[in-house]
């Protein structure tokens, strides 16, 4: 499913400038532990987290994730957005709690092969 469709369905805020929402989303991973995401998230996945600091941009760029959704109204730091923009990482934000975000994306049919 295209990232654009998920952004529209959940009414997510696109926090990074010049974000390309044309990416194909392969599934999702939810965690606030960076090494856990590093070890488990796969390329083109969405990452749902409460972390809003700049290290999320580095992790997402290194893994080639389709986007990071910072959930629960969690604050995204300015340098996180700048780092994301420099590395073509898309950061999306929402006031919806992580559980709700994941549930709605799952209901759209985005599931992982397990």
């Amino acid at each position: 499913m295209k990232l654009q469709k998920i952004v529209e369905a959940l009414d997510l805020m696109v926090a990074t400038k010049n974000a390309d929402l044309g990416a194909e989303v392969s599934g999702g991973y939810a965690s606030d532990l960076l090494s856990n995401v590093m070890g488990q998230a796969k390329t083109d996945m969405l990452w749902i987290t409460m972390q809003g600091h700049q290290n999320i941009a580095a992790v997402a760029a290194l893994l080639g994730l389709s986007a990071v959704i910072v959930a629960g109204g969690s604050h995204v730091e300015k340098d996180a957005l700048e780092k994301a923009e420099r590395n073509s990482v898309v950061i999306l934000t929402t006031d919806l709690p992580a559980y709700e975000v994941i549930g709605r994306i799952y209901a759209l049919g985005v599931k992982n092969e397990i």
């Binding site: 590093m38 700049q54 290290n55 290194l62």
Partner: protein
């Protein structure tokens, strides 16, 4: 890449510098992409290098990330002159971490860095002396694991 070619790159990693954290790993990843190394192997190299780079930033007061790229493999050597690891077997355990609270709040300190490095690499050597420093050597073959 020419058969006889061996590239050697060195990146300084600065203690506590989260602005530049991951830059060494990113630069190595971009170079490997340009060299046409398979994506799944680059992914493993990126994960292993990032974990070692972050450990130097968080636990060791800075150090050096070195990449040696040949047609057959990438070898990553990460060295520091930090406090060293007193018990390497314990440090390798999933969940073991001495990271302070403010580091944990950023989502580091889950104690999964060394386990990730072990899982991602084809070979790893962890050498450490208390009060002297730590040297992590990881080898990644450019052909898939069999």
């Amino acid at each position: 890449m020419n058969e006889t070619n061996k590239m050697k790159l060195t990146y300084d990693v600065v203690s506590g510098d989260f602005d530049r954290a991951g830059e060494a790993s990113s630069a190595i990843k971009r170079l490997l992409q340009r060299l046409g190394i398979p994506a799944d192997i680059i992914r493993r190299i990126a994960i292993g290098t990032y974990e070692a780079e972050m450990n130097v930033i968080i636990h060791a007061g800075g150090g050096v990330v070195m990449a040696e790229i040949s047609p057959e493999s990438t070898i990553i050597v990460v060295t520091d002159k930090g406090p060293g690891i007193p018990d390497i077997e314990q440090a390798k355990q999933e969940g073991w971490s001495t990271a302070p609270d403010y580091i944990r709040q950023m989502g580091f300190g889950a104690g999964m860095g060394l386990p990730n490095m072990i899982k991602c690499s084809d070979r790893i050597d962890i050498a450490s002396e208390v009060n002297e420093g730590t040297k992590i050597t990881m080898e990644f073959k450019h052909a898939d694991k069999v």
